[in-house]
Symmetry: C2
Subunit: 339 residues, 2 copies
């Protein structure tokens, strides 16, 4: 009979092994923020607050409360210079030194009213600032899933020295430099781990090394309305149906991606069309989740190449996204290129 | 600015108003069981236990733990004669008097590993036993959604005297007797309410009177593989796509239905086909959820008529199901009849 996962320390230490002290501090701060957000969501109203955030979304009481939890944790930790929240998409001074953190405090506003699992997203950049930098410069990324449990997934350098995932996975169409030496690849290797928040406040390592298999017949067709005027997307949906893929689509980006990491593969596909434009934010959503996915051996693509090859032009930059098992991502490229 | 929902008592009392004492005791026991299951899920392993239950499903450690929580609560309350769990589909003596309760302690085994919201389902029958009785004999029903919050939704007689929902809603094709008098209708009227579990252990009334609007362009296409050999279902999916319906499909029956109740309508459609047979259990799943849905003004249908018109032939009886907004359910009947 299976039992509880082994209590491997019951702390966050496996996520910090080998990291420089300041980066470890940032990861601890993120974990603390996630625990606070989880507490807040147990009672926070999901009513609309009556205002919109700077990106034009309706804000919920829960959005604002979650935002405050994260800013507080980042400010207190002393290792964050700048932070930027999807709720306040500007650079905010955090008073510390070492890293900059971009985050979406509460992803899934459209489904939290139905009490479906929602998430938070974090991208960690070395030094100061975001605009003008390449996604591949992120040194770590994390997301949380608030569901029956509170789960934290962290991607970070395996040996503490890396700053990108190049060579760890690569984009679906084989683009990207293959020139890194074996030593460089080793230095850049990342590890992706899952932790569960315990009622005591500690963290238990639940998945020590998440790897996304290259194929699995599970699909999450985001922005489905785009198929009305994106014929390649329509063909793709019909292909999934005729091939009897399993449908899993909550409409929450984080839980949809977590399904792929936790259940052994699949694909989340969010193409666009003339009448259904890109909504996902690069800084707060696609960049960190692309880092996590490629670090776990999966692929990301925006129709032009790996999402990690993009450079951030502005806080509000939007993008198309397909993410997941490498072979499943490759099958989605015609729909993405028609975007 | 919106604030927390008004603290209407911060207890379960609104769910008990006007009920006979034993039925109130059963509802309290269900709420207690749900709180225990929520606690259990925070740490319970979602590993497979290595055995199957009597219906042939793989069991998880979490399934077994949740099952124990519910049996314990029903046995302790003293108002339950027989109970039957999807995990142990037989009649089990509970030692009390007044009601019988059928339940699915943990619905959503396939998605709990991804930490998506999952649920429990409860059907309450007056007196003793289940087999040979009509679904409409259920006097109350409830489900729980374990997500960022723990939510309990209860359907029960508004005036305490009812034992069915006839006249409150009706099936989508207009079948069913229209002969009840106004007084009978009033006596049979049911109310559907949502409660949120607070960290203190109390319950807060969050939605005092849930009503499902007759139409909303949101769809949950369950058993999608059936469209490969159910042409009417395939046509229905293409209709939803061309009409730009919003897709929300978690693959968990309870969260998928809760989306409809909490977000103001939509449809959950689970047809069958020669190669994709019915999986949903009548006693533990479709009967209680049909009662809840029709009590909230929505419709249920199994291809032949309202699910509430069925009589239970055996604990393991399976059925097709479409459930949700009346007009959306009506559009699904060709696919259901082709099942």
């Amino acid at each position: 009979m299976a039992t509880q996962p082994a209590a491997t320390g019951c702390s966050l230490e496996p996520a910090l092994f080998g990291l420089d002290a300041r980066l470890a501090t940032v990861v601890r701060a993120i974990a603390g923020a996630v625990a606070s957000v989880a507490d807040t969501l147990r009672t926070a109203s999901v009513a609309e607050i009556g205002t919109s955030n700077a990106l034009g979304d309706k804000q919920l009481v829960a959005d604002v409360a979650a935002d405050r939890c994260v800013f507080d944790a980042l400010q207190e930790c002393g290792a964050v210079e700048l932070a930027s929240s999807e709720e306040q998409p500007a650079d905010v001074e955090m008073g510390g030194q070492g890293y900059s953190v971009a985050f979406d405090p509460l992803d899934g506003s459209s489904i939290i009213g139905a009490n479906w699992a929602v998430g938070s997203i974090f991208g960690v950049w070395p030094g100061r600032g975001f605009v003008g930098r390449a996604a591949r410069e992120q040194v770590a990324a994390a997301y949380a899933v608030y569901g029956p449990k509170t789960v934290l997934v962290v991607a970070r350098p395996a040996a503490g020295g890396g700053s990108c995932t190049e060579g760890a996975a690569g984009s679906a169409d084989g683009s990207g430099s293959g020139e890194a030496t074996e030593q460089q690849r080793a230095e850049r290797r990342m590890v992706v781990q899952e932790f569960v928040l315990l009622p005591t406040g500690g963290w238990q390592l639940s998945r020590p090394d998440i790897r996304i298999p290259p194929s699995k017949k599970v699909f999450a067709p985001a922005n489905l309305r785009a198929q009305a005027d994106n014929a390649a997307y329509r063909d793709l949906v019909l292909h999934w149906m005729s091939e009897r893929y399993t449908l899993r689509y909550s409409g929450g980006l984080v839980p949809d991606l977590h399904h792929i990491l936790a259940k052994g593969g699949g694909v989340f596909c969010n193409p666009t069309s003339a009448s259904a434009s890109a909504k996902l934010r690069c800084l707060y959503e696609t960049f960190p989740l692309a880092l996590l996915t490629e670090a776990a051996g999966g692929a990301s693509h925006d129709g032009g190449g790996s999402v990690l090859d993009q450079t951030l032009a502005s806080h509000d930059q939007r993008g198309a996204l397909v993410i997941g098992s490498t072979e499943e991502v490759a099958k989605c490229l015609p729909a993405m290129r028609a975007s």
